[in-house]
Amino acid sequence: MARAEALPLRQRIGQGFAEQAFWDRAACARIADLRAGTALGGRLAELADKSVVVATASQLTTALALIELDGVARRLLILPPDVDPAYLDALLAGAEIDAAVVDRATPANAAFDRGVRIVCDEVIVPAERLAVASRDTEWVMLTSGTTGIPKMVVHSRAGLTASIKPAVGDGPVVWGTFYDIRRYGGLQIFLRAVLGGASLVLSSAGEPIAEHLDRLGRLGVTHLSGTPSHWRRALMSPSIRKISPRYVRLSGEIADQTVLDALRIALPQASIAHAYASTEAGVAFEVDDGRAGFPASYIGIARDGVELKIADGSLCIRSPRTASRYLGGDATLADPDGFIDSGDMVELHGNRYVFVGRRGGIINIGGLKVHPEEIETVINRHPQVRMSLVRPKPSPITGSIVIADVVLKSGRAGAGGEFAAVKGDILKLCRDALPRHKVPVAISFVPALDVAATGKLARRHG
């Protein structure tokens, strides 16, 4: 008998509790119908052995398309909704895309006219004969947030599903995710629902948090996942009282103690876990003791086939769940020993590692990654400014926000009213040139900044 992870998704659905359904705000699909049905208008066979971009606007059609295509297509490129259209041509060419699956709401774009173009519907209709799903399809995801064109990261079905354990006991599972399933953290929840025979409640673009929470409550969500920023927003909504999940999961950003404690108080019936995962490294570990960071004992020994080490302060991961390579370009994913360097800097506090920030100072503001250099460049345009350093400041709402230390050419430093005019000028420069999450929340005028031996500004972590 074939090992379970060798079976494509379609053959693994409908094995859970009676009624497996996937919902978004507008529609509901009975997943069991896909065992002998299709949402692709009977055209699945045209996608056999193709390199297919999944460019559906709704997450529900994405979910249906992924189940249908796994094992049929040679390659799946999963396009997140926020990808910059300017990069589409390069991405699709780099992934050798020769077919597109869209839905009725996908914005028109000539980039998707590449041979076969199929519209995915939310409605599943019975199919006479379905294409044979026997391939080991490549799943390609985009990295998030950095500047420039996103990197394409290649995963296998086996790697993506390796951290998923069979659900134990306790009746039907209804998963919910605040996280878009076209990003790694959300895709993990989609796969958990598919393989666990569970239902899944998806978010819809533009849906207010209160309505989303109402919907999650009404549909009886038992397992709910999101980033710490998603959860902080949910905690600020009175509608958090509408949900009572048994299991709460945080991933995608570093979970701090404040958000973990707030969830414990707001959802006392739930067990709370935070997962460390990235698009490149896959799911590395989960922590379920309610404390931020992770036990020092996780380092050095393999757990579940995953090995962690710390190199120059950064967490490195080697496991069967990591991506296999980048598509296109010559960037290498792992070091010669197979470890992927996460760039997440950790420090040992007692017997626990805590995350202190990103190497290179990349700052995560509510899930949006910010390069401090981009902001410094704008500040440094001001004629009175000698140099500047942009750094993160912890925020209970978005994880971090940015603040700036500025050295004036005059050398004057301080915080008095005499600086109000230049401060106002700098902020205006920033507001005119940058999106608002990149505008510093505070500016301090300092006499000097540390410069490291490399000649670069010394950036502290965290």
């Binding site: 207010p208 948090i209 209160a210 920023s229 902080r232 927003r233 905690l235 600020m236 909504s237 009175p238 404040t258 404690d261 707030a262 108080i265 707001a266 503001i365 509510g366 400041k393 912890p394 925020s395 209970p396 709402i397 978005t398 926000i401 603040i403 507001r431 608002r436 999450h437 505008v439 929340v441 505070a442």
Partner: protein, 81 residues
């Protein structure tokens, strides 16, 4: 200026900077309905730390997040004592 007035003042300023329309503030108004989004509140908490010298959310062990504008003001009034 009272704690409450400082908060209202800062909220109005952030709404203007972020191009948002601030709802009329009353104690039972839900924070998420004020017109500021997560980033707006992140900026507000940072500016209030500057003005009032406290960040009650990071400092306190009582990790309840405020839901209404009145709750939010109370967290700061209690912290400022």
């Amino acid at each position: 200026m009272s704690v409450k007035l400082t908060i209202m003042d800062q909220m109005a300023e952030i709404a203007r900077e972020h191009g948002k329309i601030l709802a009329p503030l009353s104690d039972d108004l839900v924070l998420l309905d004020t017109g500021l989004d997560s980033l707006g509140f992140a900026v507000l908490v940072a500016r209030l730390e500057d003005r009032l010298g406290i960040d009650p959310f990071t400092a306190s062990d009582d990790a309840q997040f405020p839901v209404t504008f009145g709750d939010f003001v109370k967290v700061y009034e209690n912290g400022a004592r």
